[in-house]
């Protein structure tokens, strides 16, 4: 294989993988703390894409600037969904057995509602932001690098580093980690557990708000776009290790680069089969993902 094409593919894979990882961050964070597998993850991304689109379409806000709107709005939505819909389940489970399955089903219901409310509200048509300016490709030697994608990929790494650092070293972050490890003990140490849950859920969604704004220049919004990203995020997060922030980025990069390189040798559909195969293989060797603890 031509080394130029190959390095081009690796660069593409890194960019795409970074974006996958960034989008998956929230899913991993929420699972890590709440033990809730958020099936509606992609739907939240879909909503933030729409939000960014409407900011641009109605108010003329640049998609990158629209993050000022999407991040707090998605935080609020996440906070709301957790405190109103999911927390009754957790409250119920405090006395009974923990049943992760119910959480999955519940968020599956959230997914159905969000996707179809979007369909009702925005219609089935594709919508997309059109940047008024032109971002030329950055030339990495002979390889053109798409700037919006680069921005999103770098943001993913920055956010991951930031969130990890914050979780590790801040007082609030420590409280979140403590809650993740032992909900009751955290409550007995004076931590407001429902609030930590709501904030964490909000934070996970706020990260999606950011990425909704960052990818809206190149990813169109449709009511069904969420599922594609949602499933990809699951694969990325499980591969990286559920609950691990660096794992999410690493999982994304592994999948991104693997797909990009593989699809230069075989067709994209075979590459999809191979990347699923890789996923299974990694799990068989490391049953809790690359960075996960068994």
């Amino acid at each position: 294989m031509d080394p130029f094409i190959l390095s081009f593919a690796v660069v593409n894979g890194l960019l795409q993988g970074g974006i996958y990882g960034g989008i998956a961050l929230g899913l991993s964070l929420i699972f890590g703390v709440l033990r809730v597998v958020n099936f509606a993850h992609g739907s939240f991304l879909m909503l933030s894409l729409y939000l960014s689109f409407w900011c641009w379409n109605l108010l003329g806000i640049d998609p990158y600037l629209s993050a000022i709107v999407t991040v707090p709005a998605m935080f609020a939505l996440g906070y709301f969904v957790q405190s109103v819909i999911i927390s009754p389940l957790i409250r119920r489970e405090r006395a009974l057995v923990v049943e992760p399955l119910s959480a999955l089903l519940l968020t599956c219901g959230v997914f159905l509602v969000l996707d179809n409310v979007a369909l009702m509200a925005f219609g089935p048509d594709v919508r997309s932001v059109q940047l008024s300016y032109y971002l030329p490709s950055l030339m990495l030697g002979p390889i053109p690098v798409n700037i919006p994608r680069l921005i999103a990929a770098l943001a993913a790494i920055l956010v991951a580093v930031g969130v990890s650092f914050w979780l590790r070293h801040s007082h609030a972050g420590r409280a979140i980690r403590a809650t993740a490890q032992n909900r009751d003990a955290a409550a007995m140490s004076g931590i407001d557990v429902p609030k930590v849950y709501a904030v964490t859920f909000g934070l996970g969604c706020a990260i999606l708000g950011l990425f909704g704004a960052l990818i809206s220049p190149f990813i169109p919004a449709t009511p069904t776009i969420g599922l594609a990203f949602g499933i990809k995020s699951f694969i990325v997060v499980v591969l990286g290790g559920m609950g691990s922030i660096p794992g999410s980025i690493i999982g994304g990069l592994v999948i991104g680069v693997f797909e990009a390189v593989a699809s230069q040798f075989v067709t994209a559909t075979s590459a999809a089969i191979f990347s699923l195969g890789l996923f299974i293989l990694v799990l068989l060797v490391r049953p809790a993902g690359i960075m996960g603890k068994a």
Partner: protein, 238 residues
């Protein structure tokens, strides 16, 4: 006016349809150690969890120095000054000792004084200072118990509750732990302690209660209880 450190009256609670507590009355004088005794499954842990707000009370009330803590969310109860070291230690397994202790100082009041309190906890349990960067999950059972007690102290409790602190400890560790508890009392704290190690705890306690069938069936000073024939038969196996 005299105000008990902790006063509980008519407390009823349970899980689902099952009523575990059926009107518990209990009082703790400031600066005393009170022991709570009862069979396996009598509801001692449930009592602590109910006071802490982790289990919802159906009726009754609980007060801390005259202030009601009844029906508060768990973190508010901690802020008010009732802090427990839970049964089975329940540490944050993947965090270091230091982090575990710092989580204990979560509430605002405690956070402001965290450094001084930390020094005091280290003084009480020097081994914790030595191992402060070690992960909690890799500690021995006795050390884990010290972390759990230390974490509770970090919250600056007015009343400290200890749920079976000696469970699963070798006799040598039990002794060391009880020495530490006696030292904590000297800091003018009130302590509510649940123990199966009835003999040892009643020797140390100022007062004791026996929980049976979801109610207090017997109470008295440590010496009185040790002399009680029912208690001796049931809980000391004599």
């Amino acid at each position: 006016m005299y105000k008990p450190a902790l006063k509980i009256a008519g407390l009823t609670s349970g899980y689902g349809d099952i009523r575990v507590l059926r009107g518990v009355d209990l009082e703790l004088k400031p600066g005393t150690i009170v022991a709570l005794i009862g069979a396996n499954g009598a509801g001692k842990t449930t009592l602590l969890r109910t006071i802490s707000g982790l289990v919802k009370a159906d009726s009754g009330f609980s007060e801390l120095y005259g202030e009601s803590i009844h029906g508060l969310a768990p973190h508010r109860v901690v802020q008010a000054g009732f802090v427990q070291s839970p049964e089975g230690k329940q540490l944050f397994a993947d965090m270091t000792i230091l982090e575990n202790l710092m989580v204990g100082a979560h509430s605002k009041r405690a956070y402001e004084r965290r450094n001084e309190t930390l020094e005091e906890v280290y003084e009480l349990f020097p081994i914790l200072a030595e191992r402060r960067y070690q992960r909690a999950s890799t500690l021995s059972g006795g050390q884990q118990q010290m972390v759990a007690v230390g974490r509770a102290l970090m919250a600056l409790p007015k009343v400290l509750a200890l749920d079976e602190p000696s469970l699963g400890l070798a006799p040598i560790m039990v002794d060391r732990l009880f020495e530490s508890i006696a030292k904590i009392r000297e800091r003018n704290l009130s302590i509510l302690i649940i123990e199966q190690n009835v003999f040892q705890v009643l020797e140390m306690a100022d007062y004791g209660y026996v929980l049976e069938n979801g109610q207090i069936s017997l109470s008295g000073t440590g010496a009185e209880l040790l002399g009680n024939s029912h208690l001796r038969a049931t809980y000391l196996g004599l």
